[in-house]
């Protein structure tokens, strides 16, 4: 195991970063497609992998298919939107988690460390409990709540143009605690809506639509590309802010950008899927173990692995007779695996 890890991490000496990144990305993309295809076959109506691929290709290439219209509706309108949305959410959470762990130089950092998820929860629960029902209100309220909380933490932690990472971390914890109290208070008052609110809080991908997937993609894809452009700066930032400054990084500006964009990704994910724990914490650790700490390769591989992981766990969540919130599955699968890595000293505590 150790040998394989060392080989994966540092690769062949002659292989440059670009080639290694390309190989890993290609491999993980194949894995993601495979997981997605298999996932699309699973459900109350069993559909073969062949016809799923056929239906998807037909839709993609505007061709025709022999598959029954019922199957086409199930795959294209129910399963695939959910799979694509799950992939986007996992992608966003894992990339935001990777950036946060690097940014805070802290192994416990996850996408919601600056209070984004707590803000989303507050917004969502408030929308659920609100007397007037409005179809898009829930994700919008969650998204706005997430951004307000993240921005509030940033403002509280900043002083004189500087935002010390330690202060940010503590302000994030304080805001999360406070918003947690607000959510608990609202739940106590919830009455009939309690079930729906709790269900949202646990994370779910039910009733996903192409529209939702499209909106999330419109935030996640450009945001991710932005983070990727700053991957090298993030590497340098890992040496410490003082060193990063002396190596020519505009530290405060880079920090603002990284924090802002990853909070935006997290907010988009949480707004549609609720609070899904552990993806953003475990996946970056596992990928760092496999490919090393260089964000030029770590960021894209983590993102794709996060996407595949969430699609897989969501499939498990909906495979049973009664559907589970996917957040329960990610945590139930992720935590033991993480503990295994921790006990084997394969996850370092920086």
């Amino acid at each position: 195991m150790q040998q394989i890890l060392i080989y994966c991490k540092h690769g062949c000496k002659t292989m440059n970063t670009r080639v290694r990144t390309g190989a890993w990305v290609l491999g993980l993309l194949c894995a993601l497609v495979a997981v997605a295809l298999v996932s699309a076959t699973i459900g109350p109506v069993a559909i073969g992998v062949g016809s799923v691929a056929d239906i998807a290709l037909a839709a993609l290439l505007d061709g025709t298919t022999d598959a029954p219209a019922g199957h086409r509706t199930i795959v294209m309108s129910i399963r695939l939107p959910r799979i694509v949305l799950g992939a986007l959410v996992g992608f966003a959470l894992a990339s935001a988690g990777t950036v946060m762990q690097g940014f805070f130089r802290n192994p416990m950092a996850d996408p919601s460390i600056v209070g984004v998820s707590a803000g989303a929860a507050t917004g969502a629960v408030a929308a659920i409990l609100a007397p007037i029902a409005f179809p898009v209100a829930l994700p919008v309220a969650a998204f706005v709540g997430a951004l307000l909380a993240g921005f509030g933490v940033y403002v509280l932690a900043s002083e004189g143009g500087r935002t010390p990472v330690g202060t940010l971390l503590l302000a994030g914890v304080a805001i999360q605690t406070f918003l947690g109290a607000v959510v608990s208070f609202m739940l106590v008052q919830a009455g009939r809506d309690l079930r729906e609110a709790i269900y949202w809080l646990m994370g779910h991908l039910q009733h996903s639509t192409w529209t939702e997937a499209g909106i999330v993609a419109a935030v996640v894809v450009p945001g991710f590309l932005g983070l990727l452009v700053y991957a090298r700066d993030l590497n340098v930032l890992l040496l410490g802010e003082e060193d990063a400054h002396s190596l020519g990084i505009e530290v405060e500006r880079t920090k603002r950008l990284l924090l802002g964009v990853s909070s935006l990704l997290t907010a988009a994910a949480v707004a549609v899927a609720g609070v899904i724990g552990f993806v953003g914490l475990v996946v970056p650790h596992v990928m760092r173990l496999l490919v090393g700490p260089d964000h030029r390769i770590l960021l894209p591989t983590s993102a794709l692995a996060g996407a595949a992981f969430l699609v897989a766990t969501d499939t498990v969540a909906r495979a049973g007779t009664a559907e589970l919130p996917v957040g329960i599955v990610t945590a139930a699968v992720g935590a033991p695996f993480f503990l295994y890595l921790l006990r084997n000293r394969e996850v370092r505590t920086p």
């Binding site: 190596l247 990084i249 700490p293």
Partner: protein, 431 residues
């Protein structure tokens, strides 16, 4: 010519405490300047102001004529590379990658590293002697190795100005010297280096100039020999110190004394020396506040040189000449005014017997240093042995340890012992 670094009227307050107060100094291109001064003097703060890591309250810093405050990080990082005191390395990047990060200022965000970049990285690793660590994770190398990795990173940065904050603090003696020699080479190639260095001897040996910084101000500037003097070191570091010329490197060498050496001694002490036997004692007595005199020693003796350095009263004889009546009288005169006499473990020869005879006749208490065995230093035969016996009988005999000797001197002077034998001090268990 524009100085490489020009600091004008720089004041910095950190956490409400004034750290630098109107500091002005400039460093010419191609010079190696050492920043010396006690802990908390503001050395690191000055370096951080020069590389733009902190914004001063007042004053300007110009590097190559450009105001650092107006330059962005990237432009600054092409002018100034910094090796900080300690570097966090939370993630296990391979050493080569960390060194390659030194190229950041020269590579666009989306650009790739060119062959020239790779060559610069390889050369930097070779010069900082970390090439064999290239594939090791930086988290696995030792503190001293990491310090050299960061130096390599700064070399890869390829800037005209290099700032080093305690570059040798974690290094073994071999790498201390190698690192500073590398820095001296860089300076010969035309780079300008400013380094905060704790070790005053190393600073004096390698730097072209020093800046003595304390209480937020530059109190002395110039060549090491002019900056490091007994007085400046005592004022800056609050410790009694003696600056001598290092016998091998010829640069200034600072020896500091602990609190026990504070100027509480008072009195004239005549030291019988010769062949360098009295040199450590003279420094120590001088540092302790006594007023030593020496003699009679050969005019070119190391003890004579030491006496001149510390400004002690000196009785000399021509080289290789025996002690004549004039010299003996001069010594007797010193002895009669002395509050105590110290006899170093000198060679007993017919030539210097008159001095030792004079000591026997003196009324002041005598401290004999029990150093080299008598057999090794007695060339006067049976007469020499008799002389030594008589001397020991009337003296306080102590082990050959400057501190022990000074303590004994202090005791005999304060108790006013007039030659009463007190052999028990010989067994003084203190080191």
């Amino acid at each position: 010519m524009t100085p490489a670094i020009d600091v004008a009227d720089l004041s910095v307050t950190l956490g409400g405490v004034s750290v630098l107060d109107s500091v002005s100094t400039s460093v010419d291109e191609g010079r190696f300047v050492g920043l010396v001064g006690p802990n908390g003097a503001g050395k690191t703060t000055l370096l951080r102001a020069i590389n733009g890591a902190l914004t001063p309250d007042r004053g300007t810093v110009r590097v190559a004529g450009q105001d650092i405050a107006g330059l962005g990080s990237r432009a600054t990082s092409r002018l100034v590379a910094t090796v900080p005191q300690s570097t966090a390395s939370a993630f296990d990047f391979p050493v080569r990658h960390v060194v390659a990060m030194g190229r950041t200022p020269h590579v666009g965000r989306l650009g790739t590293r060119t062959a020239a970049d790779r060559a610069a990285v390889d050369e930097a690793m070779a010069r900082a002697a970390v090439a064999d660590l290239a594939d090791r994770p930086v988290t696995d190398v030792s503190g001293g190795e990491r310090q050299r990795v960061v130096l390599a990173r700064a070399l890869a940065q390829d800037t005209p100005v290099l700032l080093l904050d305690e570059p040798t603090s974690d290094l073994d003696v071999n790498h201390q010297v190698r690192t500073l020699e590398l820095v001296a080479d860089l300076v010969d190639e035309g780079r300008t280096v400013v380094a905060a260095i704790h070790d005053l001897d190393l600073a004096a040996r390698y730097c072209d100039e020093l800046r003595l910084l304390y209480e937020g101000e530059i109190r002395a500037a110039g060549p090491p020999a002019s900056v490091l003097t007994d007085a400046t070191v005592e004022a800056a570091f609050g410790v009694r110190a003696t600056v001598t010329e290092h016998p091998i490197t010829g640069s200034a060498s600072v020896t500091a004394f602990g609190d026990d050496g504070a100027r509480e001694g008072d009195g004239r002490i005549h030291v019988v020396g010769g062949g360098g036997a009295a040199t450590p004692l003279l420094h120590r007595l001088d540092a302790a506040g006594f007023e030593p005199s020496v003699g009679a020693v050969s005019a070119d003796d190391r003890d004579a040189e030491t006496a001149r350095t510390i400004g002690a009263d000196l009785v000399t004889i021509p080289p290789y000449a025996p002690v004549d009546d004039a010299a003996r009288a001069a010594v007797a005169d010193r002895l009669s005014h002395a509050d105590a006499v110290v006899v170093a473990d000198v060679t007993i020869a017919p030539g210097n017997r008159p001095v030792l005879d004079a000591v026997l006749d003196a009324s002041a208490p005598v401290v004999v240093v029990d150093g080299r065995p008598l057999d090794e230093r007695n060339v006067a035969g049976a007469a020499g042995r008799r002389l030594d016996d008589r001397l020991r009988d009337r003296s306080v005999v102590v082990a050959d340890e400057p501190r022990t000797v000074v303590d004994a001197v202090r005791r005999v002077v304060s108790s006013g012992t007039d030659g009463t034998p007190c052999r028990d001090i010989e067994a003084d268990p203190r080191p």
